[in-house]
């Protein structure tokens, strides 16, 4: 767990440092995530696929992600400090939340669906015709 935290916090620190040095508008942890993902992708391509660090990293990451809900509680409770905003702007908040969630679901699903079918049609026209009939 300690080497895993060393890697995770090291990436977060690098992300924060990069953000400050380059004046990027992106949050430090997001840059840290990109750094780690790039590092892992390079390692996987290289000759040594497994080590004790990557095993420990996977376990720790899994535990952190599985209990991520708990980590939101302190920030989420902050809503009680914003109760005035909720009360005075409930309509735009509800409209924006419902509208944008449904639109984004539909657009992502439809574009992905369309591109899969287009690719399948290019690869073998018969399969898609079969799908359409079925």
């Amino acid at each position: 767990m300690i080497p895993a935290f060393l890697v995770l916090l090291g990436c977060e620190l690098s992300g924060n440092a990069l953000r400050q040095m380059l004046g990027l508008p992106i949050p430090g942890p997001v840059i840290g995530m990109a750094i780690l993902a790039a590092g892992l992708a390079i390692r996987k391509a290289g000759p040594s696929p497994r080590s004790s660090i990557s095993g420990s990293l996977e376990l720790t990451a899994e535990a952190l992600i599985r209990h991520m809900g708990l980590l939101f509680v302190p920030a989420g409770v902050g809503l009680i400090a914003e109760i005035d905003v909720l009360r005075s702007e409930w309509l735009p908040i509800a409209a924006g939340l419902i509208g944008s969630t449904l639109l984004s679901l539909a657009v992502t699903g439809l574009v992905m669906h369309w591109s899969i079918r287009r690719r399948a049609a290019r690869l073998s026209p018969d399969t898609v015709q079969g799908l359409e009939r079925g």
Binding site: P25, V30, G32, G69, L91, G96
Partner: protein
């Protein structure tokens, strides 16, 4: 010489009390969800937030005191966000195989979410602060909250919107996409990940493995995209 009491523990009784209460509220939320047959409506996070908020209001405790006491939990959000790189790196093969489709769908869905979120809030007479809190809400909650505080939104509001939006996407997502004749698990998974992050993705993951992989992909890539695109868009819109 440092007095020995200083070495014992830096946390007093009151901060420990809030830490314990937060853990207890989350555990209670999990138990309640299990008791309700694991339904998405009974989100442990929402239950825990409600319990803790009720206790704070009931005891007239200042939120700042509570937040200072539970800083340690909040601090872990940073490494947890970085940890999302691990499932993301695992799905590089899937990205390479479906590069054009995933890229296009992700970009279209993510931009739609941001612009329609800001636009609808503005259309219904909401303030700039609320619009900025809405903009990053489709990203996974830690990223959404981080982006929100970066661009001048209210991180707590964004976190709550991300959670409630995720529940909504989980509840209506499958039915809605099936009505739109989307019958591919890759499309269902990616849409759940992009529009509803972790909560909606979990719903798809229960039903289909390929869908789960694409949902994880949607969460990771959308997190990076929102982290980059939303601050830049807001930077230009001043």
């Amino acid at each position: 010489m440092i007095p020995i009491e200083h070495l014992r523990n830096s946390l007093g009784t009151t901060p420990l009390l809030w830490l314990v209460l937060t853990l207890a509220a989350y555990t209670a939320g999990n138990a309640l969800q299990r008791a309700c047959g694991g339904t998405t409506f009974a989100s442990p996070v929402l239950i825990a937030i409600t319990i803790v908020a009720a206790i704070l209001v009931g005891t007239r405790t200042d939120y700042r005191d509570y937040f200072a006491a539970t800083q340690f939990i909040n601090f872990l959000l940073g490494p947890a966000t970085v940890a999302l790189a691990i499932p993301l790196a695992r799905s590089t093969r899937l990205v390479r195989e479906n590069l054009a489709g995933v890229g296009l769908a992700l970009l279209a869905g993510s931009v739609t979410s941001t612009i329609s979120g800001i636009g609808l809030v503005w259309l219904f007479g909401g303030s700039r602060t609320v619009a900025l809190s809405m903009a990053p809400k489709a990203a996974t909650t830690p990223i959404a909250a981080a982006v929100s505080s970066q661009i001048g939104g209210i991180p707590a509001l964004t976190a709550a919107l991300a959670i409630v939006g995720g529940i909504m996407a989980a509840v209506v997502g499958r039915t809605m996409l099936t009505r739109l004749n989307v019958d591919d698990w890759r499309a269902h998974g990616l849409a759940a990940g992009v529009a509803g992050s972790g909560i909606a993705a979990a719903q798809v993951a229960e039903r289909n493995e390929l869908g789960a992989a694409f949902a994880a992909l949607g969460i990771g890539l959308n997190g990076v995209l929102v982290g980059i695109v939303v601050p830049l868009m807001v930077h230009l819109w001043k």
